[in-house]
């Protein structure tokens, strides 16, 4: 262990543009989990028109957004693409969520309008599907030493992502839809890029993943940083277990909703039952 306090350099990309559903919880998790261990951190926020020095970033956050915001981010990302790619090739850690995941892929074809070209660091393609996947998710992950665990959270996306031969999935779906609802994969990995459809506070609720990202980020900066000090994580463990229970409720597994509330003008009840994991169609609003 180095004697001087270590500092993780975090870069939060598009904090106002791509932050739709509690995604900043991931930043809070990294900050607190550093503080509790006496590790220092710095946070650089880079919105549109700002190109941060990616060569001085250890951990980059790229979160989700709605269609319009994603389009704006895609346009701006062209200016950041070169240095961001270089940082990824040099082993910088990236957590990419939802729209952020799609932007790192090769392309995204929305339901309407021209396709969006992504950064292409992940060998995946995404196209909008006819309905949204909405519900709790559980995923079995094996990310190498110190990176085994069950990932749990909530998905809400109409994009269907398919992995090419150059991408590995982040994990295997235990409950929920995952990348496309067909092949049982969730998310994608490449070098130290970790991409997922699980939005919101995925790191607070999955402290093992937060710590895996932190230790990889420290390894990116420091030669010899040793293992992270353990934390009690009582609230985290309880929340993780509760979210896993919700995802794995037997009657509420992911299933295709037969009737589309948007197509039935006058359902007997004001809305379709909000069964967790049910697919509710939002055909015109892909993400």
């Amino acid at each position: 262990m180095t004697t001087a306090p270590m500092t993780v350099r975090i870069c939060h990309l598009y904090p106002s543009l791509l932050s739709v559903a509690g995604d900043r919880g991931n930043l809070f998790a990294l900050m607190h989990r550093c503080t509790w261990r006496g590790i220092r951190y710095s946070v650089t926020e880079a919105d549109v028109d700002v190109v941060p020095d990616f060569s001085r970033c250890d951990l980059i956050l790229l979160h989700g957004g709605q269609d319009r915001e994603m389009t704006a981010a895609a346009l701006d990302l062209e200016a950041k693409a070169g240095p961001l790619r270089d940082a990824i090739e040099s082993g910088a850690v990236v957590l990419a969520v939802c729209a952020g995941y799609q932007l790192l892929g090769r392309s995204y074809a929305p339901a309407e309008g021209p396709p969006i070209t992504g950064l292409g660091v992940l060998d995946v393609v995404t196209r909008a599907g006819p309905e949204r996947f909405i519900g709790h998710v559980a995923v079995e992950c094996d990310l190498g030493p110190g990176g085994q665990g069950q990932l749990t959270g909530f998905e809400n996306h109409s994009g269907r992502t398919f992995l090419g031969s150059g991408a590995e999935p982040l994990g295997r779906v235990l409950a929920g839809a995952g990348n496309n609802g067909q092949d049982g994969t969730e998310g994608a990995r490449y070098r130290e890029v970790y991409a997922t459809y699980l939005h919101g506070p995925v790191l607070p609720k999955n402290p093992w993943l937060a710590d895996h990202l932190l230790s990889r980020a420290l390894a990116h900066r420091y030669q010899d940083c040793g293992p992270l000090a353990p934390l009690t994580d009582q609230a985290e463990t309880q929340a993780h277990a509760a979210a896993l229970r919700l995802a794995r409720r037997p009657a509420r597994r992911w299933r295709a909703a037969a009737s589309a509330v948007s197509r039935v003008r006058r359902p007997r009840s004001p809305r379709a039952p909000a069964t967790a994991g049910a697919v509710r169609p939002r055909a015109t609003t892909p993400r």
Partner: protein, 493 residues
């Protein structure tokens, strides 16, 4: 200035309905069934009868809402939006009554389809005639496209649109699109009352034929403690131009993304306000003294409820009431009286005496509502004892990621204790931990009654327990307090 009437053309004979005899019989049966259900649910004490009558009546006649409202001469007002619906409706009802109209409305926030039908059943006699001169309906923003075609409102009011339950409503823009369809379907004789300070709401359906009436705040600054200068808070949603996606620049931000905005790129700016709050001063007792300029004159009003969000509600209600053709012009003095006496709706910072302690019950369902509540609570002195409860239900949704967009970090330095509860108690506790709460000050008790007991035990006599809760746990906690005799049933309000 007299506002052009927005009423439908008078029918020659009151109560004469366009319903065919067979349809009339079915309607009568449906209304009788609904009324019987209302009586039964009260007698059997299974609730306030806020949705059962609607369920029964629409089972008997699926077109009960359309028939009952078509047969009525009443003016129809539909109020929707993310936040402030219930309070705006209470204010609108008070103003309309001051202007000489009798009012039927759905109460207790029963704003889904069955609650709306229940209100129509309650307000209609067995022949389908409505006594009241104003049918005032608060409607959930996902339900409004089902209600509006049947009710055919003369006035359609949108309070604001914030991000809310993405798992239930979908994206903000798809919600906006559905509201737009309702405005586009309004006839030219109808009025769309829109929040001009909300960049998304103000831009809805620009080509629609209905008259538009914009309300908003033109005061130099809202009350100092809650005005945020010119930068929207983290949870603000529509901070980019809805036309060109440039970041909006604000001359003033009053609440979340509500304010005086302009797009530096395309020139899209806040529209001219028809009903404008031109001055806001704090008043004794925590409310606001405001001056509102309208086409019907200048109104100096006292808003008894605290916070700039209630200034918006008052402006919305005043705009909604002057959109009606009132039997007599609304006198400023009457309007002032009507609003000055208003108490909060249940669960809206409702103060409840719980023995020698006080409970402040706050319904929080999205980041903006939660942040607004936090600001009000933090104005009060002392360290705060909190009960925070959320449950995953059909009404409350499954996804509580939005809790991470609430600025709970502002509360934590003033936190004495927090008990988290509801079926998502663990999620709530995790949020408080990462807001900086000390694990020693936190407890997780999913049972609502156990959590209430424990949180009250933490609260010293003479002090207040603040309850922040989603809709379902808020109703549950309120019924527990009702059984203990601390508070009246919500349907008696």
């Amino acid at each position: 200035m007299r506002i052009v009437t927005s009423r439908a053309p008078d029918r020659s004979e009151a109560g004469q309905t366009p319903v065919a005899p067979a349809g009339q019989a079915r309607l009568t049966l449906a209304l009788a069934g609904g009324k019987a259900a209302a009586t039964a649910s009260r007698v059997l004490r299974v609730g306030g009868g806020t949705s059962l009558p609607g369920i029964v009546a629409s089972r008997i006649d699926p077109h009960v809402l359309q028939k009952a409202t078509a047969a009525s001469d009443a003016r129809k007002v539909v109020v929707t939006g993310s936040n402030g619906k219930t309070t705006t409706c209470r204010m609108l009802a008070a103003l309309a009554q001051a202007g000489g109209l009798s009012v039927t409305q759905n109460r207790s926030g029963s704003n889904l389809l069955q609650g709306v039908i229940s209100a129509a059943v309650r307000g209609t006699d067995l022949r389908g005639r409505m006594d009241a001169q104003l049918l005032l309906l608060e409607v959930d923003e996902a339900t409004v496209r089902l209600v509006a075609p049947d009710v055919r409102p003369d006035t359609f009011l949108i309070t604001n649109v914030f991000r809310d339950q993405l798992d239930r409503f979908g994206e903000l823009y798809s919600m906006a699109r559905r509201l737009e369809e309702v405005i586009e379907a309004l006839p030219a004789s109808a009025t769309a009352v829109l929040n001009g300070d909300d960049p998304l709401v103000a831009s809805l359906a620009p080509g629609a034929s209905a008259r538009r009436l914009y309300f908003g705040i033109r005061a130099a600054s809202a009350d100092a403690a809650s005005a945020d200068g010119t930068v929207p808070e983290h949870a603000a949603d529509t901070i980019r131009c809805v036309r060109c996606q440039q970041r909006l620049s604000y001359r003033a931000v009053h609440l979340s993304h509500l304010g005086d905005y302009e797009c530096p790129a395309c020139g899209n700016a806040r529209p001219g306000l028809d009903v404008a709050v031109t001055a806001i001063r704090p008043s004794r007792g925590g409310g606001s003294e405001i001056t509102v300029e309208t086409p019907a004159g200048t109104f100096p009003l006292r808003v008894s409820l605290p916070g700039v969000h209630n200034v918006y509600n008052a402006a919305a209600a005043l705009a909604g009431s002057i959109a009606q053709a009132l039997p007599r012009p609304l006198e400023p003095a009457q309007a002032r009286q009507a609003l000055a006496d208003l108490r909060p709706a249940f669960g809206r910072l409702e103060e409840i005496q719980a023995g020698d302690r006080q409970v402040v019950l706050a319904f929080v369902k999205n980041p903006t509502a939660y942040n607004t509540t936090l600001r009000e609570v933090l104005r009060r002195p002392g360290r705060k004892h909190i009960l925070a409860a959320h449950s995953n239900t059909v009404v409350d949704g499954e996804d509580f990621a939005w809790l991470w967009d609430v600025d709970l970090e502002d509360l934590v330095p003033h936190l004495a204790s927090v008990v988290s509860s509801g079926t998502r108690a663990e999620e709530v506790a995790l949020r408080f931990k990462y807001a900086g709460a000390s694990p020693a000050a936190m407890e997780v008790l999913p049972s609502r009654s156990a959590a209430l007991d424990r949180a009250l035990a933490h609260t010293p006599p003479g002090e207040s327990l603040y309850i922040f809760a989603g809709y379902t746990p808020m109703r549950e906690l309120r019924s527990i307090m009702q059984r203990r005799g601390w508070v009246r049933p919500s349907w008696e309000e």
